[in-house]
């Protein structure tokens, strides 16, 4: 028997039940909410550097800073610091109406100047914003009263969605210019529901409720977010009562602790698991691709490996995404897979062979899922050799277009737009796509600048149907995020995967 941390924790299940006697107090008894968070917060500037594009950190950023536009738990936009937004008729200018009466954490008034400056700063390549290529589609910002206008330098249909996505945060112009980047790192100021009280790098951040928050004062006056990257340690934190809320633990642990009396919510989030197919041999044979798709029983994998926590998907769109089309189906069909392979001269005795790359431990049961898929493939006549690599190597190989014929990856798209899922993943000229065939490029290209929203979404649905029909990629599942909390603390999950303290209430 292989002993690892998870095994040890499983073995301890019986004895740990004793700990149930010491479960955390009910919500009304909690003065200071303690959250065991799964990542460290390296930097406080949410618009620059690697942490700015780390989806998991966004929950901390959104506690302190507001985005231009508010994103609701179901991923839909709502008025936030920007209350109204849109294009002019010929889509050459945008307008943003700014909320009045909002204060920064230092007490100074929030103004439309802050919005214009934040957008201009994000578009300036000297600041190092990783999403500068999107922000630079706007320019020539002008402020009139509480309205900001800007020229559309290059039409980007998703520009307003980016205003509640990565790096879409409003920062305080006067304060930032006064203290500089170092001063801002030391004492960040936002307009968000919580203010930074104390920050110990690699250890914790202590937040105080913003009494003037435009969305209403949060329920918990003080929130401490401890950075606990190790899953076993997070489980111990919440089990021992040292923390009231935690997230992202093995599903077996989630079930065990829920049974022991903790509250839990497991909600589908915008992350998906998928297998990229590369347009190299043997994937150039459509029968091989289609058989590879048909031979995978996604629901069985979810049930057996993920304790049922996952949603099988047939396209790169989840039900929350704008271009989700439930009529596109790629059902499990072992007989069809055998038939397709036989048509190309392959079978269990004469299998088609290729390599599949995967991470191990980067996402829940990633390696085990690929092992199960390889087992299912073997039954129909596909012999895949597994190569484990680090996620960093995946990025490098993908950028160089040298991934193996099949490669497991997870894709996050918390704005739910088809461009940021199917678009970026499948458009050949993008350095991040893997399948680069001309037919697909020609189908996707006109959609990038399509100004008619209904036509644009319909176009992406057609692309998804075409991809499914030709098996250019293997969508697997939508991930479910497990969150555990002390009895009496009610957590509202956010489909983006961000864990937001201001959405937590006492029961």
């Amino acid at each position: 028997m292989q002993m690892n941390r998870r095994t040890i924790l499983k073995l301890s299940a019986a004895t740990a039940a004793l700990g149930a006697a010491g479960l955390p107090a009910l919500g009304e008894g909690i003065d200071e909410l303690v959250i065991a968070y799964n990542v460290n917060l390296p930097s406080w500037d949410p618009t620059v550097g690697a942490s700015a594009v780390n989806p998991t950190i966004q929950g901390i950023y959104q506690s302190v800073f507001d985005q231009f536009i508010l994103q609701q738990p179901d991923l839909k936009p709502a008025p936030g610091l920007i209350t109204e937004w849109g294009w002019n008729e010929d889509r050459t200018r945008v307008f943003l109406k700014v909320r009045e009466g909002v204060k920064w954490h230092d007490g100074s008034p929030f103004t439309a100047e802050d919005v214009a400056w934040s957008l201009a700063r994000a578009a300036d390549e000297k600041t190092g914003n990783p999403i500068q290529f999107i922000w630079s589609t706007l320019g020539n910002f002008q402020v009139e009263g509480n309205t900001v206008t800007a020229d559309v330098l290059r039409f980007e249909p998703t520009i307003f969605k980016w205003m509640y996505f990565l790096t879409g945060y409003v920062l305080p112009r006067a304060y930032y210019e006064k203290v500089g980047p170092e001063g801002f790192e030391a004492a960040p100021v936002g307009t968000g529901p919580y203010m930074v009280d104390k920050f110990e790098r690699n250890a914790f951040v202590r937040l105080k409720a913003n009494p003037d928050y435009w969305g209403g004062k949060p329920e918990f006056g003080t929130v401490t977010i401890k950075f606990v990257p190790d899953a076993a340690a997070r489980v111990a934190e919440v089990e021992s009562g040292n923390s009231h809320v935690t997230l992202e633990m093995p599903y077996e642990e989630y079930d065990r602790l829920k049974a022991a009396g903790l509250s839990g919510v497991a909600h589908p989030i915008s992350d998906i698991g998928m297998i990229f197919l590369n347009d190299v041999d043997p994937m150039l044979d459509p029968n091989v691709r289609k058989a590879a798709v048909a031979a995978i029983d996604k629901q069985a994998i979810i049930n057996r490996l993920l304790s049922g926590y996952g949603v099988a998907i047939d396209t790169l769109e989840t039900p929350e995404y704008d271009a989700y089309d439930p009529s596109i189906r790629t059902p499990y069909d072992e007989a069809k897979a055998r038939e397709l392979l036989a048509a190309s001269g392959y079978g269990p005795d004469n299998p088609v062979r290729f390599k599949i790359q995967t991470t191990k431990g980067f996402k829940p049961k990633d390696y085990e899922m690929i092992q199960a898929i390889v087992g299912l493939w073997r039954k129909v006549g596909i012999e895949a050799e597994i190569e484990v690599y680090e996620i960093a190597k995946h990025y490098e190989l993908r950028a160089a277009d040298t991934l193996a014929p099949a490669a497991f990856y997870n894709w996050g798209n918390s704005v739910g737009d088809p461009t940021t899922s199917t678009g970026f993943a499948m458009f050949g000229p993008s350095p991040h796509s893997v399948w680069d065939s001309e037919d697909l490029v020609n189908m996707i290209a006109p959609l990038w600048g399509e100004p008619d929203e209904a036509k644009r979404i319909a176009g992406w649905k057609a692309v998804d149907a075409y991809i499914a029909e030709n098996a250019y990629v293997i969508p697997l599942l939508q991930y479910v995020q497990p969150i555990l909390s002390a009895p009496g603390v009610v957590v509202t999950p956010h489909a983006s995967g961000a864990l937001l303290p201001h959405l937590m209430k006492r029961a």
Binding site: L9, S43, V53, K226, P229, D230, A236, K393, G423
Partner: protein, 336 residues
């Protein structure tokens, strides 16, 4: 004079070692797969966007050119800026070092205490069931790696009997009056028993996890050395002069038997600091090890370089100190 020459020679070789480490780490982390820019850019980025960001972080130059720029900065005390933390590397590394040093020293102290007591007890009660029990316990302690001890301790003293803290270095709600990052040392000097207790409550489990395997090694080696020394003529002479067994072990045998253990402790201390990487992660302890893991995950090249160089400095410094201590304690070495 001979001693001075030996020290100067060791310092010179240490400088060469550090330069070698710097070159190796600089080249290796740039050759292995994983580019910080490709980790940072979202999928919509074009080749031009990638090139722009590579230039922003100075990664568009050749490796020798990057090395010369970095080495020039290091010689002036500038180790660069962390890509993920956006802070000077030297500030980050020196800011975390005290936490790791305090944890390592506490772990070493516990290991010496536990190993020493086990060795002396085993020697004093040699041939009895107690010695056999100590040997069995030593074997168990050695065969289980430190991170597994960490999990066992978390389960025992964090969950089942929650008497110690299992994450962090200090309770977030406490007001800390510290002016340095040596929290434990400073709270002792400031005569703040409340802070000392809180810090120890956070440090005791990770320190124990690090200490247990080392204590077993110390216990075994010291007991073996004592056993050999106890058969030497001068020890027999001490017995014939009427000294009790405790006096013979502690005053006659131990001073001679301790030298190989001292050397081992020095060498193991460097490994102990290395071991903090996993243990700090497990206990979410805000030390250098935790910082190192994040740096590697995020391919934060300047930070990885800074941490490795600092580890190398610590390793060479500890080895130098151990060598000097051995010279100071051994008359034969001291007088050539």
């Amino acid at each position: 004079m001979r001693l001075l020459r030996a020290i100067l020679l060791r310092l010179a070789t240490s400088a060469v070692t550090l330069a070698g480490v710097a070159v190796i780490v600089f080249v290796v982390i740039r050759v292995v797969p994983g580019d910080p820019v490709s980790m940072m850019l979202p999928p919509g980025a074009t080749d031009d966007d990638i090139a722009r960001l590579r230039a922003f972080y100075g990664l568009d130059r050749s490796i020798p050119a990057q090395f010369l720029i970095w080495a020039g900065g290091v010689l002036q005390g500038d180790f660069g800026t962390s890509i993920t933390n956006r802070q000077p590397v030297l500030d980050l590394v020196l800011g975390r070092l005290p936490a790791t040093l305090e944890l390592s020293v506490l772990a070493l102290g516990l290991a010496v205490l536990m190993g020493g007591v086990a060795a002396l007890t085993g020697t004093r009660l040699r041939g009895t069931r107690t010695e056999a029990a100590i040997d069995v316990a030593n074997g168990m302690a050695l065969s289980v790696p430190d991170f597994l001890w960490g999990l066992v301790l978390v389960l025992l003293f964090g969950v089942i009997f929650p008497v110690f803290n299992i994450s962090g270095r200090v309770t977030p709600s406490l007001d800390l009056p510290f002016t340095t990052n040596f929290y434990l040392l400073e709270s002792i000097l400031r005569l703040r028993p409340d802070l000392v207790a809180d810090l120890l409550s956070h440090m005791i489990l990770p320190a124990l996890a690090l200490a247990i395997p080392l204590a077993a090694i110390i216990g075994q080696l010291l007991k073996q050395s004592l056993k050999e020394t106890m058969h030497l003529d001068y020890v027999t002479l001490a017995r014939t002069r009427g000294y009790g067994e405790n006096h013979v072990i502690l005053r006659e045998a131990l001073p001679n038997a301790i030298l190989p253990t001292l050397t081992l402790v020095g060498v193991q201390f460097t490994f102990l600091i290395g071991g903090t990487v996993i243990i700090e992660r497990l206990f979410s302890y805000e030390g250098l090890g935790n910082l190192a893991i994040d740096a590697v995950i995020n391919r934060d090249l300047p930070l990885i370089q800074g941490i490795v160089i600092l580890f190398a400095v610590i390793f060479t410094a500890v080895n130098l100190i151990v060598d000097l201590a051995c010279v100071a304690l051994n008359p034969r070495l001291r007088h050539g």
